[in-house]
């Protein structure tokens, strides 16, 4: 059975290779081939999952060693997999949601002439993401980690003829590389500390290392997580990443890849648990981001960018939970999975709306769409109810648990974190209600499309697109309840993540009530602002906070002023200096030694050519003489 583990990665990898190298012959069937590869991986995942369920708790984690990858004396990197409760959870999420989004893309990308390549990239993404969660050591994880970065780069920039898409793709890769630096150095530090960077030895031996070293490793891993999961201060790429086709936003930039940072922290729990200072940093990053993303989400008129702000914010919740240690790990992953369902569903819904509205993304140009796109409306609506935490739906259970866990951190810290998380819940309800009202309710505010010059004729999307939306809506509704039933999800993950109840100053029921009240307040405020009076087609100027939030709270202005502009100045002056100073200095030094500089200027005389020729002649002569000397 274990020998099936490598096939999980191999199936989509083979699909990617076929699709990218196969040429035009595959244009007609390539998308189905890609979908099939994803589905095959899902089936394998289900088989492995049921096999794991059949084994007692203690024997669920399995390893599969493939081959020795980089052996240099004490440095041993292997291509070797580990399938345990945590990784199989990810496998099912990635391949399940992945297959649905492949299916959706068959319809969504039907008119794109490069559809085959699109599916090749999607398959490549699946392979890399599965490698990331299946690796049994940090270096192999790093391969998947940058592999998903590559797939993300290729897919954000899929419409490369658009300069904005090409710029966004590059920005995502480079910001992520800053995070990858953290992972890189963390692995080096593990190697010098433990002589290994495999999960077993590092996590098992963490107790032997000093707290300082563990804190350093943990902070470096946090840096990596910030890059991949778009957490403050490396959040700036996610909004721009919405340049990619919408299925990409759903799969990579909502449901799976961006959550890899949460996986990394949870997987490395043994290190974080022993580094309380680093854990504080994690919860601070998570809390700041959950508020940051929520505020940005309130101000965006672009439906995808509003959802991107929301993604950032929801991952902030997960990071916050992961930073709480054993109190929160399982809930971080639980919210990750439910978020995977409802956020993927919301993005697919947004894609369906855009599909029907001639690729319009400005919600101020939507309105009243519920009558024209009933399936999209219902599935999006269920996703909406799930994300705001409407009682009984998925998000209600998972988010509530995180807020409880935040209070359970205890002390002043617990109060601060819990209250911030509550505020976040209110803001989430506000911006999602805003999205809902602007898109599906109110008057029609449709504008002539820039491409065709005609007013759009919204229509429901084809079955390949609506079917995945319907299935994801089921997940959005029921997954949370299922997971919360008898704390089944918690017990499932507990052997890997550990669990502790913490020390909550509030009763769970009180927290649930507070959360619900906050949610209702957010919904009510949004209804007052956007539900009762007509929405202007052009955005009002707004308060300074709104204007700043529209500009992503000035993140790009900050990066430009602090990094880009000084950097450009530095390179420009270095280019100038290299030709003048360094070259001049070396030439000048040579001149003082051998008077060469003067000769360098007399290049036109052909003297060097004759010099070289005479040298060549001299060498020949030397060789001839020595040969003669030998024979004498």
């Amino acid at each position: 059975m274990n020998s099936l583990i490598p096939l999980l990665v191999a199936a989509p990898l083979a699909g990617a290779a076929l699709l990218l190298l196969g040429g035009r012959y595959l244009d007609r069937l390539g998308h189905w081939l890609g979908t099939l590869a994803a589905a095959l991986s899902f089936v394998l995942g289900v088989l492995l999952f049921s096999d794991m369920l059949g084994r007692p708790t203690g024997q669920r984690a399995v390893h599969q060693h493939l081959f020795s990858w980089i052996p240099v004396n004490g440095f041993r990197a292997d291509v070797s997999f580990q399938l345990d409760q945590l990784s199989v959870t990810f496998v099912l999420l990635i391949t399940g949601v992945g297959t649905l989004i492949h299916l959706y893309s068959v319809g969504y990308m039907a008119h794109d002439e490069r559809r085959r390549r699109f599916f090749g990239y999607l398959n490549l993404f699946l392979a890399a993401m599965l490698l990331l969660v299946l690796a049994d050591n940090y270096l192999l994880l790093y391969v998947g980690w940058e592999g998903v970065g590559l797939a993300s780069y290729l897919l954000i920039g899929f419409w490369q003829h658009k300069p904005s898409a090409a710029t966004a793709a590059k920005k995502a890769f480079i910001v992520n590389r800053v995070g990858d630096m953290g992972l890189s150095i963390a692995i080096m530090l593990m190697f010098t500390e433990f002589g290994s960077f495999a999960f077993g030895p590092v996590l098992g031996g963490a107790r032997q290392a000093s707290e300082g070293k563990l804190t350093a490793i943990a902070l470096l891993l946090l840096l990596a997580a910030c890059g991949k999961s778009a957490q403050v201060p490396l959040q700036s790429w996610l909004g721009d990443a919405m340049e990619g086709p919408t299925p990409v936003s759903a799969l990579i930039h909502a449901a799976t890849m961006v959550t890899a940072g949460v996986y990394l922290i949870t997987r490395s729990g043994a290190i974080f648990n022993l580094a309380p200072d680093a854990q504080t940093a994690v919860v601070v990053v998570g809390t700041v981001t959950l508020l940051f993303g929520a505020i940005v989400g309130c101000a965006k008129d672009d439906i995808k960018k509003a959802l991107a702000g929301s993604t950032m914010s929801q991952i902030g919740y997960m990071v916050l939970a992961a930073g709480l240690g054993p109190i929160g790990y399982a809930f971080a992953i639980m919210h990750l999975v439910t978020h995977g369902f409802f956020k993927a569903g919301l993005f697919l819904g947004a894609g369906s709306v855009m599909h029907g509205m001639d690729d319009e993304v400005n919600m101020r140009h939507y309105g009243g769409l519920r009558k024209y796109m009933p399936i999209t409306f219902v599935t999006f609506g269920l996703g909406y109810l799930a994300i705001i935490g409407f009682p009984g739906l998925s998000g209600f259970f998972s988010k509530d648990k995180i807020i409880e866990a935040a209070f359970a951190k205890g002390g002043t810290e617990g109060w601060i974190l819990g209250l911030c998380a509550l505020v976040g819940a209110a803001v989430t309800a506000f911006y999602m209600t805003r999205v809902m009202l602007l898109t599906f309710f109110g008057e029609k505010r449709w504008q002539p499309s820039a491409r065709t010059g005609e007013e759009p004729h919204p229509h429901e999307s084809p079955a390949t697109m609506t079917l995945p939306m319907i299935l994801l809506a089921f997940g959005s509704v029921f997954a949370g309840g299922l997971f919360a039933l008898n704390s089944s999800f918690l017990h499932w993950l507990e052997p890997v993540t550990g669990h502790s109840e913490g020390d909550s100053p509030l009763q769970p029921l009180t927290v649930t009530l507070l959360t619900t009240v906050c949610m209702l307040a957010g919904v009510g405020l949004a209804y007052l602002m956007y539900g009762r009076s007509p929405v202007p087609v052009t955005a009002p100027v707004g308060s300074p906070l709104t204007r700043a939030a529209r500009r992503d709270l000035l993140q790009d202005d900050f990066n430009h002023a602090v990094l880009v502009r000084p950097g450009a100045g530095l390179t420009a002056s270095l280019v100038y200096l290299d030709s003048k100073a360094v070259d001049g200095l070396v030439n000048g030094l040579a001149a003082t030694i051998g008077g060469i500089s003067g000769r360098l200027r007399r290049i036109q005389t052909g003297f060097a050519r004759s010099y070289a020729l005479s040298m060549f002649g001299g060498a020949l002569l030397l060789a001839a003489t020595t040969l003669l000397m030998r024979s004498v």
Binding site: V72, H161, A165, R177, M181, S184, F191
Partner: protein
């Protein structure tokens, strides 16, 4: 005594003479004949080098397949050759790249047709291909020589064919003063390297004199390093430092190490893409290789003394080269500055004095050769289509030539050391090997990976994406010959990224031998953990 190594070096040398002697190429058939001969010779050389690498016994002696032919008896100079794992993989790299470079340069040296139908300089084609084979022969001798004098002679002699390759053949994309620029670049290349070589010659003679005084009148490397290790040959510390610097200077010019790098952008920018690959992927590797083999083995104490200083220079080179690459306007100069950054990594790996650092540095030489060849040769195809090297003259190429754009992206991704591709393996080994002894240097060098992403992806974005620029519209995609050039490079980059073990198996024993010469061991982990808890479930 086996003659395999002599044959490996003699075949391309004889091929060079044969190619040069073929009748002048006024007709297409004659030109094709000379190209065909040269290509066949390079293929035979590849087969021979493959045989060398395959016949090495990884558990055997340091130098294998050794042979020695008396040359100048009165000075104790023998034409002696021997292969170790490091020399063998670099010889293999050379032999792999030369036929690829030839195929890529297939029409770069065709004579210019005059309006009246006659040709100017009909011997150009033969000349170019003969020179390439001559370079190959000399480089191979350098990688396989175990006699210091023989190494020196060929190390210097390869400047001559390189000089003519740089000065004589351009890429037809320069401005009106391109001939002058090119000859400036060729002379700069020659003078820098000659100066380095002269300093080395003095050190070679100095070493000989010292050894002769102690009864060792020989240039034989294993004899001398053995005598130094056993204390039979004692060199006064000051003299050792001077000799080390003499050798190192020559290698640092060739490698090139900051601040001696300024000849490289000129030489790579002005020559053809094929020649640029020969420079950066093959000839420059002799410099880094020689640091590892000669500086460390002959002068262990001085190596340890100067190691940290060299480490600082290489660190500057990593960051400096990458920053300059970001600021370039010319595609080929960008690749050249990227190479300077990469040479920084290689030299850092060597002087970190850990097995990961040095094995990583050796793999880095191989992987940089392959990946830069892919990147540079596709850039060459791109430049020859547009007749310009300026980044600003390109845009939207992926729309008209997707295969070209795709391979250019793969070259760029390899250059930025994407995990899964070969350069990642070597770069990470160098970083971890450096970090183990010099954590701060390792951390600073890691900034290089962000800068590499910046220059590689900026170049791709500016040339390949966006709307199709004027002058790019009708651009043809890669032809069959060009695909044949790129395909093996891409395949090797992938294969060695996933399964580098055949190379590490060859290189590790030689690296361990080098480290024991300088009395260095890998630092032990602070809290070693028995590796039985994970990854051992076969």
């Amino acid at each position: 005594m086996s003659y395999l190594l002599t044959a490996t070096c003699a075949v391309p040398a004889a091929g060079a003479v044969l190619t040069a002697a073929l009748p002048a190429g006024s007709s297409e058939a004659r030109r094709r004949a000379s190209k065909g001969v040269a290509l066949a010779v390079s293929a035979a050389t590849l087969a021979l080098t493959g045989a060398v690498a395959a016949s090495l016994d990884t558990g055997g002696a340091r130098y294998q397949l050794t042979e020695s032919h008396t040359w100048i008896r009165s000075f104790g100079i023998d034409f002696s050759l021997g292969a170790d794992g490091i020399g063998a993989v670099l010889a293999l790299l050379t032999a792999v790249l030369v036929p690829i470079v030839m195929l890529a340069s297939w029409h770069d040296a065709d004579p210019v047709r005059n309006p009246d139908g006659t040709f100017e300089n009909v011997r150009r084609t033969q000349g170019f291909f003969a020179l390439v084979l001559a370079v190959e022969a000399m480089v191979l001798v350098s990688f396989l020589a175990t006699d210091i004098f023989v190494f020196y002679v060929f190390f210097e002699a390869m400047l001559i064919p390189m000089y003519f390759l740089i000065g004589g053949f351009g890429d037809r994309a320069g401005g009106p003063d391109s001939a002058a620029q090119r000859s400036y670049a060729a002379v700069k290349f020659l003078l820098y390297n000659l100066l380095g070589g002269l300093v080395m010659l003095a050190a070679v003679i100095g070493l000989y004199v010292l050894a002769q005084d102690q009864g060792l009148a020989t240039f034989d490397l294993p004899t001398l390093t053995g005598a130094i290790a056993d204390g039979k040959l004692v060199i006064d510390p000051t003299a050792e430092k001077l000799l080390f610097l003499g050798f190192f200077f020559a290698f640092a010019v060739k490698a090139p190490l900051w601040p001696l790098h300024t000849w490289l952008p000129n030489a790579m920018g002005e020559s053809t893409a094929g020649t640029a690959v020969l420079i950066t992927a093959v000839v420059d590797k002799v410099g880094t290789f020689a640091m590892l083999r000669f500086c460390l083995g002959l002068f262990p104490d001085a190596s340890r003394t100067f190691g940290p200083y060299i480490l600082v220079l290489s660190l500057i080179g990593i960051v400096y080269g990458a920053l300059l690459a970001v600021g370039q306007k010319d595609i080929k100069r960008l690749v050249a500055y990227a190479s300077i950054s990469h040479f920084g990594f290689i030299i850092m790996g060597i002087f970190a004095f850990t097995s990961q650092g040095q094995s990583g540095a050796t793999l880095y030489m191989v992987n940089h050769g392959i990946s830069t060849a892919a990147w540079m040769l596709v850039a060459g195809f791109l430049i020859s289509r547009r007749g310009s090297r300026l980044i600003a003259d390109f845009g939207g190429v992926q729309k008209v030539a997707p295969v070209l754009a795709g391979t250019f992206l793969i070259g760029g991704l390899a250059t930025l050391s994407l995990p899964g591709l070969a350069p990642f393996v070597s770069e990470f080994l160098v970083l971890v090997g450096t970090f183990a002894k010099y954590p701060v240097a390792g951390i600073i060098a890691t900034f290089g990976i962000v800068l590499a992403a910046l220059y590689a992806l900026l170049l791709y974005q500016r040339t390949m994406t966006g709307p199709v620029k004027a002058g790019v519209e009708g651009m043809a995609d890669l032809r069959l010959r060009e695909v044949l050039v790129v395909a093996p490079l891409v395949a090797l980059t992938l294969f060695l990224g996933v399964y580098p073990k055949p190379l590490t198996d060859l290189v590790n024993p030689a690296v361990n031998a080098t480290l024991s010469q300088i009395h260095q061991t890998d630092p032990a982990p602070a809290h070693p953990v028995a590796a039985t808890t994970g990854g051992e479930h076969e």
